[in-house]
């Protein structure tokens, strides 16, 4: 029996840069990101709208007081996924 089409699909998660920033829509909570301002964050919740993820600051050289706080992060501010 032929495999289902679904099993031959590429994984939904994509790690590509778009012209405006990192493609974040399919990233899961727990994913770590480096932002263009040098901060590192971890995704808590993903709106799945392609624009925003709710994240917690892990490192923030410019504003260390914000480490540990949560904020919405725009995909255009994401530089790369930290593996």
């Amino acid at each position: 029996m032929a495999e289902s089409i679904g099993s031959q699909r590429e994984p939904r998660r994509q790690r590509v840069n778009t012209p405006g920033g990192m493609f974040v829509r399919d990233m899961d909570p727990g994913t770590r990101l480096k932002l263009s301002n040098g901060a590192h964050v971890q995704i808590i919740e993903n709106a799945r709208d392609g624009g925003w993820v709710l994240a917690r600051y892990l490192e923030y050289p410019d504003e260390p007081d914000l480490v540990g706080t949560e904020d919405w992060v725009f995909f255009g501010d994401v530089q790369e996924e930290v593996t």
Partner: protein
């Protein structure tokens, strides 16, 4: 305050309506300037039905609905609190939600990506630090929330006007009717859920044709619904006007008729009972095995719950054709099985919505029977409302011509033949045959809203005792 029609010189709104004679100028239904003033004077101030809490049971759930011409989002935030927001981004006006219903963490505008929490707060703005330089105060740019919202036994109502009276005061003597419409068949408050999805379609007619006719125009039924009655389409399958097994004909002493309050604009075809308790159940669902068993048992529970109380201003029995329907000013008609919304969509267009209640604890076969009945009887494809649309959709264009506008509509049926009833203060009842009193009540309220500059002129309770 006298309101003048902008395009008609010094002719006042009041000059178009003579309720002592039962005459209404056709311009009330076709004039563009009058329509524009209705949006401002009526739909920006009145309490409007927006939905039911069963449509948004979980945090993040939302459903789009309307208030007048404007689209709003009914949503439950992450703390489970209900909100009603205008569906427009504060930045450049784009809709922040384009799905009819769903679940969201945030509402993100697809234009420039401003994003809003489900509690309405603006929580994300691209370039907030590097291009707005931290100078944009997000707290001032949240979603626009209604002036007041009320969860009334599960039904959600809202007004843009923060100065409007409380919803229960707004309802006056019709508060028990709204409560009844959202009770389960056994009388449990907030005991229903709405079938999904809502039916929505547009009628090429002015919103007042259906909104001022429903629950007050039984004189049309014999001719308009002749074929439906011949086909015996009711659940009882038994002829005209509900048939001999219509619950309104239950052997339970009551004054059934046209009940209205012209001061508030609400009206209905309801009952003032001559004895306490509830009517015995009449078997109705002959082609749906088990459904009558369910409703009969529910009616018995309701009888025990009601005890020796009088349940005025309600229908007689559970389920579809429960024996009554009513209209809450300005554009919500409802009973204990359906909600009919008449949203204005231009002077000659009405967006009609149908929502159907069903006991949330009913077995699936009962829910299915109700749904099938709703589909064949009501809505855009239902046999009775198709009849009604024929009338409204042709009456409007036939009233547009300058010659046609010289001749007023006649609202004289039953004029002067109503009486008060001490058991329900504040209403009059017409129980001597067909009457247009319920339509006259809405037109009276229409004049009041169109003329009033404030709620002090609109709300008689406030004028009478100054406590609201």
């Amino acid at each position: 305050m006298v309101t003048y029609i902008r395009s008609r010189g010094d002719r006042s709104i009041r000059s178009l309506v003579d309720m002592e004679k039962g005459i209404v100028n056709r311009e009330v239904y076709v004039n563009e300037d009058i329509y524009a003033q209705e949006l401002e004077q009526i739909f920006r101030r009145a309490w409007l039905f927006v939905g039911h809490e069963s449509q948004v049971p979980n945090p993040g759930d939302f459903v789009l609905t309307r208030m007048g011409e404007e689209e709003v989002i009914l949503t439950r935030d992450h703390k489970k609190k209900l909100h009603v927001f205008l569906n427009t981004c504060r930045h450049r006006g784009m809709k922040v939600c384009r799905y009819d219903e769903g679940n969201a963490i945030v509402f993100t505008c697809p234009f420039h990506a401003w994003t809003f929490d489900t509690d309405g707060r603006l929580v994300g703005v691209p370039h907030l630090k590097d291009a707005y330089f931290g100078e944009l105060d997000k707290s001032e740019w949240g979603l626009v929330e209604v002036g007041q919202m009320c969860n009334y036994f599960g039904s959600i109502w809202a007004t843009w006007d923060k100065k409007a009276p409380s919803f229960e005061d707004y309802l006056g003597p019709f508060a028990p009717s709204v409560r009844w419409a959202f009770q389960a068949s056994d009388g449990e408050d907030n005991g229903v859920e709405l079938l999904k999805p809502a039916q929505r379609w547009r009628l090429p007619t002015n919103w007042k044709f259906p909104a001022f006719s429903f629950a007050g125009d039984s004189a049309h039924a014999a001719m308009t619904h002749l074929s439906v009655n011949a086909a015996a389409i009711g659940p009882q399958g038994d002829g005209a006007d509900g048939g001999s097994r219509h619950p309104m004909k239950a052997p339970f002493p009551a004054k059934n008729g046209y009940i209205s309050t012209s001061e508030l604009g609400h009206c209905g075809q309801l009952a003032i009972f001559e004895q306490p308790g509830v009517a015995p159940y009449l078997d109705t669902w002959f082609s749906d095995p088990g459904v009558d068993d369910y409703f009969r048992a529910a009616q018995e529970k309701r009888r025990q719950r009601v005890g020796d109380q009088f349940v005025h201003m309600q229908g007689a029995s559970p389920g579809p054709f429960g024996g009554g329907q009513f209209h809450i000013w300005p554009n919500a008609t409802m009973s204990n099985f359906r909600i009919l919304m008449w949203h204005p969509h231009g002077v000659g267009m009405t967006e009609s919505w149908r929502l159907y209640q069903v006991d949330k604890n009913a077995p699936q076969n009962v829910k299915d029977a109700i749904r099938h009945y709703d589909m064949r009887y009501c809505g855009p494809a239902g046999v009775t409302e198709s009849d009604d649309m024929e009338n409204w959709n042709y009456a409007h264009p036939a009233s547009l011509g300058l010659t046609a506008q010289q001749y007023p509509y006649n609202f004289q049926l039953g004029l002067g033949h109503n009486h008060a009833d001490d058991r329900v203060p504040g209403v009059v009842i017409g129980d001597k045959g067909p009457s247009e009193e319920n339509q006259r009540a809405r037109i009276n309220r229409w004049v009041a809203f169109m003329e009033a500059g404030s709620w002090d002129e609109l709300y008689p309770v406030a004028r009478n005792n100054g406590t609201h």
